[in-house]
């Protein structure tokens, strides 16, 4: 009874939040500007998180996010659903935009020289915001193997090549390659286990962000 009840609520919330990606893409490609609000509401914070890993200056990172959304708007017709999910494509654009910003001059790719935030052993480094909101993230991070976590974060958030990951972690390139699948498989297992909890975290974040406008 309680499980069934929760599932029902879960799917209902999902229905509210989940306007299909294909629907978004269709409207985006028809240049229907109204969809930008939803796109922004759903993905901006995650994309901003990714950009912030590459660009530590907040103002520049925010400018870059705006530019990324402009590119997403202008290049929507280039998105091909056959090749992957909308978010994956948007991450690529956000990342490329950030790299362009970095190349354009004055901004260093700061995070390559700084050490990464270490959620596991150094909670003091977490910002107040993260500490308050990201119990869901920490639940996942705590369960990930340290090496797996770093491989995913370096490749996905810090745009390292596998060679660079090998150098950073002091392991051979071949080992990095074989560990990438292991790392993501472990992440998938943890996420599947934590699905409901994470869903609520994301849901609450979305609402907080939304009401903040």
């Amino acid at each position: 009874m309680p499980i069934a009840c929760l599932n029902q609520i879960h799917s209902r919330q999902y229905a509210i939040m989940k306007i299909d990606d294909t629907e978004i893409v269709a409207l985006l490609q028809q240049k229907d500007q109204r969809i930008m609000g939803l796109l922004y509401e759903r993905y901006s914070a995650a994309l901003y998180g990714i950009i912030s890993n590459l660009i530590s200056n907040e103002t520049v990172a925010q400018e870059t996010l705006q530019d990324a959304f402009v590119k997403i708007w202008h290049h929507a017709d280039k998105y091909d659903a056959q090749k992957g999910r909308l978010f994956t494509w948007m991450v690529q654009i956000a990342r490329n935009t950030a790299i362009d910003t970095l190349r354009s001059g004055q901004f260093k790719r700061g995070d390559k020289t700084e050490s990464m935030p270490d959620y596991v052993s150094n909670d003091a480094r977490l910002s107040e915001e993260q500490r308050n909101k990201d119990s869901g993230l920490r639940r996942v991070v705590h369960q990930l193997d340290e090496q797996h976590r770093r491989i995913i974060e370096l490749l996905y958030f810090y745009d390292y090549t596998q060679k660079e990951v090998g150098e950073e972690l002091n392991i051979p390139l071949g080992t990095v390659k074989s560990k990438v699948r292991k790392a993501i498989t472990q992440l998938r297992e943890i996420l599947a286990k934590e699905e409901l909890a994470i869903f609520f975290v994301v849901f609450v974040k979305t609402i907080i962000q939304y009401l903040g406008h």
Partner: protein, 254 residues
Amino acid sequence: MDIKAYIESGILEQYVLGQLSADEAREVEAYARQHPEIRSELDAIERSLESYAQLHSKTLPAGTLSRIFQKIDAPLAAISSNQLLRNRLRLIRGIAVVFVLFSLGLATYIGVDKQKQTQVKQQLLACDALAQELAVLQQELNFLKDIDTRPVVMNGTPVAPNAVAAVYVNADSRRVYLGNLDLPVPPVGKQYQLWAIVNDTPVSMGVFDLPARAGAFLKVPFVADAQAFAISLEDAGGKATPTLEQIVVLGTAG
């Protein structure tokens, strides 16, 4: 092509993370179009990273969306706030629906739980009653099975020719049970009284009411060396000596 081996090679993860050359990437895309398993594995990998990225979300300052609209040169600032308001109303309505659903679910859950608790309590009580009854029956059975237990059947006298009763005497454990009671229902103000005859003298073993349950046994006081047993119908409360013409059943021991 061995799809499973292909998936397990890790090339799909490399693809999603943008680690492949353009040629390699095109190959993965071609395979994904041909094989739904590869497509769905790619999708699962992408979803996991997407969830992970969502967990790493960073809050943007207010006004960012309108800056974007300005940059894409949209005459939308007015419409968008209107749209936002409408969206927000829809969201609030959604939250309300969820809240009501949740409350309903919770209330139903609590209600059902209470009902179940009551049922369980009743069943436990019934169980207790049954267990008690069983213990009594067990005790009676053990007594009857005891090798030293002797039955004494008392048959009806001319006063009540069809009446019958029996006592079960165990001299070893000094216990006596009265059972097999098939006696006429006594008139109001009258009670049956059980007697033991010891050395030709009647000794009262007390008055009793007919038990509600047919075949029930009554524990009665032990009297040593009884030659015979009898039941007489007496005024309620019993008498010191039996009224001879009211003896309904009589049986000799041994």
